[in-house]
Amino acid sequence: MNKEIAGTTVEVNEEGYLTDMSQWNEAIAAAIASEEGVGPLGDGHWKVIRYLREQQAKGAALTIRSMGKSGIVTTKELYDLFPGGPLKKSSKIAGIPKPVGCI
């Protein structure tokens, strides 16, 4: 389905995740973040968001463990930056699919 986020019409799934990561921009990220009760987005958030997009572009499977070992962010920081669902929310804000793993 189509949804207008921050003045841009983008394709999202029924949970609100962008289905085409190339339609993403920073204004969209900020709008989704405020909808999810995250932010305002600071340097820490942007580092995670950029890293997630890079990993997704490479086709890497994202896990909470791999994030903590990435050197980008510690587990504690990730939970503090994206309260209420660190990997789910950060992925949604980064315009990539919802992570499918159990870890």
Binding site: I64, R65, G85, K88, I103
Partner: protein
Amino acid sequence: MNPSEDKQPVKKVCIIVSRGSLDGVYPALIMANGARMEGIDASLFFTFFGLNALVQKTLDHLKVATVGNPAMNMAMPMLGMPMTMPFPTWMGALPGISAFATGLMNKKMEELDIPPVGEFLELISDSGGKIFACKLAMDMFKLKPEDLSDRVDGVLTVGQFYEESAGAGTHILFT
């Protein structure tokens, strides 16, 4: 009312871990970490043999229980054999079988990005999950708090554990 509107979200899980084999402990750790990833509070309460997963000297040396496990056929595909291949329970007692099965499970878990127990406790603790040891079991096994992982948040009586579990939307799971 639409059934979906009736659903109350799970707010907190309190998971009791009573077994100390690798296959007895991992499900609880995975469920607790999974809860935190969904924004659900999680507490783990290790009791009886479950304490094996908190004792510093033993926590990274847990073994798969192969004796008395009639489901060992599940592991056959890991060896390139069909899951329907029989694995008589008495074979689980042969020397080296438990060590072999443990090595196999550890390898598979690593491939799935599931950390070893010690690192898993750190992950859960860093995510805000709480880790408790049972006082009665500590006394029974003559353990002191300093014998346990430094990620343990405290030693609780049963009553204190139920206090920790208070609140609507909390679920207590026994494993």
